[in-house]
Symmetry: C2
Subunit: 244 residues, 2 copies
């Protein structure tokens, strides 16, 4: 039965790929991009370097795989969050909460992703992996765009003439990206003692209030929503801090 052998082979291959990924993730967190070393990885997993290159075409390709690994988990959390049954603004909030919980679960994901943002790095990964990477991002945007569309259809949100559907999303996305970058920089004295995570949430709400996305903060207890979403969808306490 040839297929039994083939299936075992595949299983072993996947297990080894997992081993490489886990080892690389640990090393990357510890030593950074420049410290990550293919020879050391090979040594750590007790295979030769050639075998590592059977799985990943280059060091950068391996990093991209690390990224895709957590990004898949992130996309799944997005999907789950989007199915939350509430107002359109609560559903958008659910995505934000999904992301915040994701960050709590995978604190070093964005440090890895920021390596890939260097154009000279992304140029070195295989085409399939790059395509998959773009597909994941696109799927997330689809989920989000759908929520805005629903809000407009339901009359919760009225976008002024000339403002595209993606505008409020873009505001949240840019803030989330900026937040994760700033968090990974050297701490600024101006932010000492301030819960920047709570500030991020405050700013989300201020912006959506500015768009007039109903129900407004003044008419709804979003603190309670955050707790409800967190526990219902993810079974965890809210990551949003105290909203204002």
């Amino acid at each position: 039965m040839a297929s039994a052998t083939a299936s075992r082979r595949l299983r072993e291959r996947l297990a080894r790929e997992r081993l490489i990924l886990d080892t690389a993730r640990r090393m990357l967190a510890e030593l950074g991009y420049l410290g990550l070393n293919m020879d050391r990885i090979a040594e750590a997993i007790e295979y030769s370097k050639g075998t590592v290159y059977q799985h990943f075409s280059s060091k950068e390709d391996l990093i991209a795989a690390l990224c895709a690994d957590t990004a898949a988990a992130r996309a799944e959390m997005f999907r789950k969050a989007a199915s939350y049954d509430g107002t359109t603004r609560e559903r958008l909030m659910a995505i934000g909460i999904a992301d915040a919980i994701f960050i709590r679960r995978h604190p070093d994901h964005f440090a890895v992703e920021s390596i890939l943002d260097l154009s000279s790095v992304i140029d070195k990964i295989t085409d399939e992996r790059r395509d998959r990477w773009v597909a994941i991002k696109t799927a997330k945007m689809d989920v989000l765009t759908r929520i805005v569309q629903d809000a407009v259809d339901a009359g919760d949100l009225v976008l002024p003439e000339g403002v595209p559907l993606c505008a409020p999303l873009y505001g949240m996305w840019a803030q989330a990206v900026g937040h994760s970058r700033i968090s990974s920089m050297a701490p600024m004295p101006h932010f000492a003692g301030v819960d920047m995570n709570a500030v991020l949430w405050t700013n989300y709400n201020r912006m959506l209030d500015g768009y007039g996305w109903k129900p407004l903060t003044s008419d709804w207890d979003y603190q309670a929503s955050a707790e409800r979403i967190s526990t219902t969808v993810f079974g965890e306490p809210s990551p949003a801090g105290s909203l204002t």
Copy 2:
């Protein structure tokens, strides 16, 4: 007269440093971080590699110098913008405009800065240069915090209990950072045909409206403000696009 010789020496040294920086910037834009090569720089400027290392202690140190180079120009533009004589919200807007014009003038600055954000890279630069880098960032935050303080003092802005002064700044900063990062990624189909720069400005205004920072968008022509600030302070057309 020994000082004449010394002064000429210094001048020559500075000129060569300029030459190295300009060459490196061009190469970095063209070939990316991984493509940038100390031997090639030395060859291009027609000096030896050892001489390049007289100026910069490592490849990463050179990149940090590139960054500091434009960052100094940016800080100067911030300072100029902050002195604009208008409402507190216009003054904040002036900073945003300064930054947008800066991006227009130095389109590849953030690509360079993002290299430095990799922790394993910043670890390799000299202490003085790192300190200078942090000092520039801090100075910019000082300018901004001052504007928010003035707004609160003037009664233009009332921050709810528990919201720190830096909150609205953080929202703008995070969006600016996120925007520059997203812009340098592979283009998303959801944004095709949309002027993301105009969207960024829309979002700034929505958020500040959400904070109730007076005068609100509904009571003031910020389009006109943008044009006025751009021409008055920088003698250039507004980079904000059409605001909504």
